[in-house]
Subunit: 170 residues, 6 copies
């Protein structure tokens, strides 16, 4: 029961900083999109586990845009924070900044929203603690999370309808 006590967003927020090494890049020295997605997922998973005190697995990732190229030698900062807790799932927002440490310029390159589900060792969903929001910023995130959830459901309906009208699945 104490595990279902409401928690604040800052109780579980994570800052993760990574240096882009040759291992992470393509032949032109650009950070691979998939490598960044991997970091985004790890940062969000840590927030989900901290908030819920349970092992959490990725259930979905909303659209991610990569506005700015990230290059070999850049520093990538990921700021991950819980936006809303539903019954057994949580929405986590991750903000990605890239910085060229050689000239200290820093820009926002992506934002991502991920949904995680808390599970037991058999993979069955577990209840998660509610989220207590206070500041205007936290409330805005909390409300946007519900809108995104609704949009996700609408989107899935649209895809299903398109599939039903068309031939077979993608």
């Amino acid at each position: 029961m104490s595990q279902l006590q409401a928690r604040r967003p800052k109780d579980s927020s994570v800052e993760m900083t990574e240096l882009v090494l040759p291992n992470d890049t393509n032949q032109l020295g650009n950070l691979l999109g998939g490598r960044l997605m991997h970091w985004i997922d790890i940062a969000a998973a840590m927030v989900a586990m901290r908030h819920s005190s349970k092992v959490c697995v990725t259930a979905s990732v909303d659209e991610i845009n990569f506005f700015e190229p990230i290059k070999l030698g850049h520093v990538v900062t990921l700021q991950a924070m819980i936006n809303r807790a539903f019954t057994t799932s949580l929405e986590i927002g991750v903000r990605v900044l890239r910085e060229d440490p050689l000239n200290n310029s820093s820009v926002h390159t992506s934002s991502a929203y991920l949904t995680f589900v808390a599970i037991d060792t058999y993979g069955r969903p577990l209840k998660v603690p509610p989220l207590e929001v206070e500041s205007d910023e936290e409330k805005r995130r909390f409300n946007e999370a519900a809108l995104r959830r609704e949009q996700r459901l609408q989107h899935r309906e649209m895809v299903k309808k398109l599939r039903a009208d068309g031939a077979h699945s993608s």
Copy 2:
């Protein structure tokens, strides 16, 4: 110019099969969502480069749902295919199947849509060859790609509006 000759979807399609090793899992032996996203991105990048004969970078990834858990020892098959070519960008669809080789069950666990941009060595966008679609299935994918593109633009507008109404960015 010959590089801008129309090509067929099957000219660039990719099948990628991966074995889930301890390296790819969390403490309960579940495949990490971010690891799967990394494979999805690599599979799609190979399609984009094959179709365009150019280096391509990830511009955006649509919502990805992880319907079914994938575990240590499973075989993951990724089928990646180009859905549509725009002026300098391409939409690639990736279908993910997971199979437990010890009982030969195979299920569809995720579908993903990614947009790539072809670039030169300075990162400037380059024109890509048009896509020639023939079968009903190929035409359905071609049309759906335009709908998804429109939805992406609407979604970005909605996010911008929410942000403008609210305080500061996520």
Copy 3:
């Protein structure tokens, strides 16, 4: 018992596609031979586990030739297929193609033959299902597998004899 029902080669065949990243290359941008061998082994292991529905471990790898260099940014396709099932072991063939996606040239760079053994959790060998071959191509592979097995045994005898004539082991 149903696990020992005969299966067809196409029931377990695998296509694996990999993009050569900086991580996989030496200081001149050539794919490391050992990295390719690792991919060959994984592709073959997936075929062996799919055919047998059991965990399989590598027992031997026949001579592998690397006819053509593979470079950073190339796409490597591995086609793995079972050639023959013996009592507790299987021979898998892997064909390696490399393609420069920037000019769509594709060449055959290596072929490899690997033997796997199906094992239980104590490492003891387990019986594997027989292989049912139909096409001429499948029959040719089936017959060649027996020749290669014989050659392997002869080769081991020759090595043993050389050692016995000489001083101590390599």
Copy 4:
């Protein structure tokens, strides 16, 4: 010249958070000491490059103690901050916390002090900007860095002397 303007510790400080995955552990599920040292080095390198706006390489690492075991599934937070800038080198302090996200306990497991040197593309040392310290805490760290530097020099002398007295080098 503007690159040699004094900077504050907070201008370059880094927080790095890592999830301990199977890849990072030994056969009992303990984080490998060397893996933690690798993270410590990366976190410190990012601070050194941010402060100096130059590529920096590790010159030395002071004694590191691992007071508490870190296990699979734990969250490791590394807080890295510059303590002092010398002519071409910098001392960076890294504080390591480990947390079990399943019960939110957090403990301090190690502290490390690393010296980095800023270099040009030929490996020659470059001048670094001075550090401007204000708070008592920053001043304490600044003074301790000088003491550690002195101790390092004494330590090297002692080792040299021991070697000279003894036979050949370690």
Copy 5:
């Protein structure tokens, strides 16, 4: 010219020791065959580069047998030594020992023979220094290398003939 001065086997021999970590194993905790092949290739590449003072790439790997299982936590020792230098190629032998450090038992698990070619930055073959053998053991290895080379050529002929008799290539 001084680079083509004869060298002794011991001038370039390598001992490489690796600890089997979770990253290197399958779901039963067995070292992956491909991971071991990767280590074998790296060990041999270092010998080839040391002997030739040139960048070398893998040209072929003879049959490798995995006589004994290697498990998580074992220590793997690879002893690599040049057996013979031909005009632009070298044969390297690698002997693999595995040891359970918890009971100090050590067994020979595999031997491998690899051929490397020295190349320039355009991938063209370069002459390598001759090998000077003295001991009986070195002479035995030198002679066996010629036999293996001959067998490799015969083997390729047999494969070609089988292919010509049959339908298309594997």
Copy 6:
């Protein structure tokens, strides 16, 4: 009891050779300090486990100096040897040599001293076998290990005192 029989340094010594690959370097092609520390830790862990026949974890690492840069394509040799066994801990010395295989120059770049503790599966310390030293070199190392241990304790006292005089911990 037989596990606590005295052993000689050479019974557990390890030689580990690594090729510096792109994966291991920063954007100027320098080996990352943290990567080298990782190798040092693995080499020393193997010695500790061989001497004690038990799983061992890193307890502390003494100051490490990186005297010479190590570059992409270099060969790194790590020679690890036990210097002294205490009740439940051991001091291991690791000597690092780097060699450019293209010109066969070899230099000593670092020396490191690490302390390991033997543990059971609950993480509790276990007694380790005594070390039997014979040669002058072994005796010198044995005596130096005691001096280093004393210096470590003094150093910790100094740090504690500085902390007590100052405000809060680093």
